[in-house]
Symmetry: C2
Subunit: 215 residues, 2 copies
Amino acid sequence: MSNLKLNIAMSLDGFVAGPEQSEENPLGIGGERLHDWLVPLRVFREMHGEQGGEVNASSAVFEGWFENVGATIMGRNMFGGGPGPWGEEPWMGWWGSDPPFHHPVFVVTHHGREPAEMEGGTTFHFVTDGIDSALEQAREAAGGKDVSLGGGATVAQQYLAAGLLDEIEVSVVPILLRAGARLFDNLDGASIALEQVRAIEAPGVTHLKCRVTAA
Amino acid sequence: MSNLKLNIAMSLDGFVAGPEQSEENPLGIGGERLHDWLVPLRVFREMHGEQGGEVNASSAVFEGWFENVGATIMGRNMFGGGPGPWGEEPWMGWWGSDPPFHHPVFVVTHHGREPAEMEGGTTFHFVTDGIDSALEQAREAAGGKDVSLGGGATVAQQYLAAGLLDEIEVSVVPILLRAGARLFDNLDGASIALEQVRAIEAPGVTHLKCRVTAA
């Protein structure tokens, strides 16, 4: 069975991004602190072509985000997409020439463009007809493997509200952002029941995995 | 050193009570689910004069709430206090004739009344001149031991905003309440920095203990 899994970092007061999110600053003001536990990890640095770094209980959790995953969905701010913000050149996102996905990535956006084939097996596809279409295309591309939803807040909320998520891993970071985008917001009347699968304590973060069950 | 420690259950979307809190329903609509992990515990049942019950990873956490604690502070809804809602008799709160505290309890309220001495060493004191006064009286009564802040949301927010808490244990419950009282709300410009002490996974809940540090 192919699951749709959300992995996202959330402050203890419920925000997955600070205020004033933009293409230049997709995590908003102060939001980069949500990744303070992630960025020093050796496994994260290796994935971005760097050496050294820490190994701790978060390492296996982060690796788990990519296990058995055949395709990724993300929102446009997380891609950094749209027309190039800094001049005429088409902007290729945050991910460099060899993005760490190594599988098809579907970017939910209003800006249609041709697919961008990168080094290392990652191809960015730009989906302009909504989250159902993105999921359908991602499931097809994943060939039976899971589909990972990378965020940001808006697409996460949309998939939650539509009842399309099978699993949520929330990495709870002991900071208070006080303002910004909440993960559990704009859910309208959606009925969402959760079942705790496991919690893992790591330096500066606790990883809570929940199964989304029929409410 | 005498610490002020908050122990409170919070939904994954950040609420410590559902909507429409009242003296009759201090946890609001749906809020009693915040205690679904707690009520079946043997240690909780024994504390309320009942037998049987479960033993799991939450048992030691719950016992820890009372360790080295010499006094408790709570808000009026948690006491159930004020004039008796059901007839003329003075209402003695939710806690029965032998409350589980066995030490002085300071109830922050607008309704002044005489102290109520219960069986088993618990005396309820009613503090009408604010949270600073309640803390001062509780520290004095605790005689060097810690002071426990039991909630509800309003007094927890007040102590957080005033920068008076030393430790927060948030028991994160994998439910979405969607509305009600948020723990981290009404904090105004308070500068609050947290440091994760530990996380404990238990059935249906994860207990996150954080130290409040100078921001």
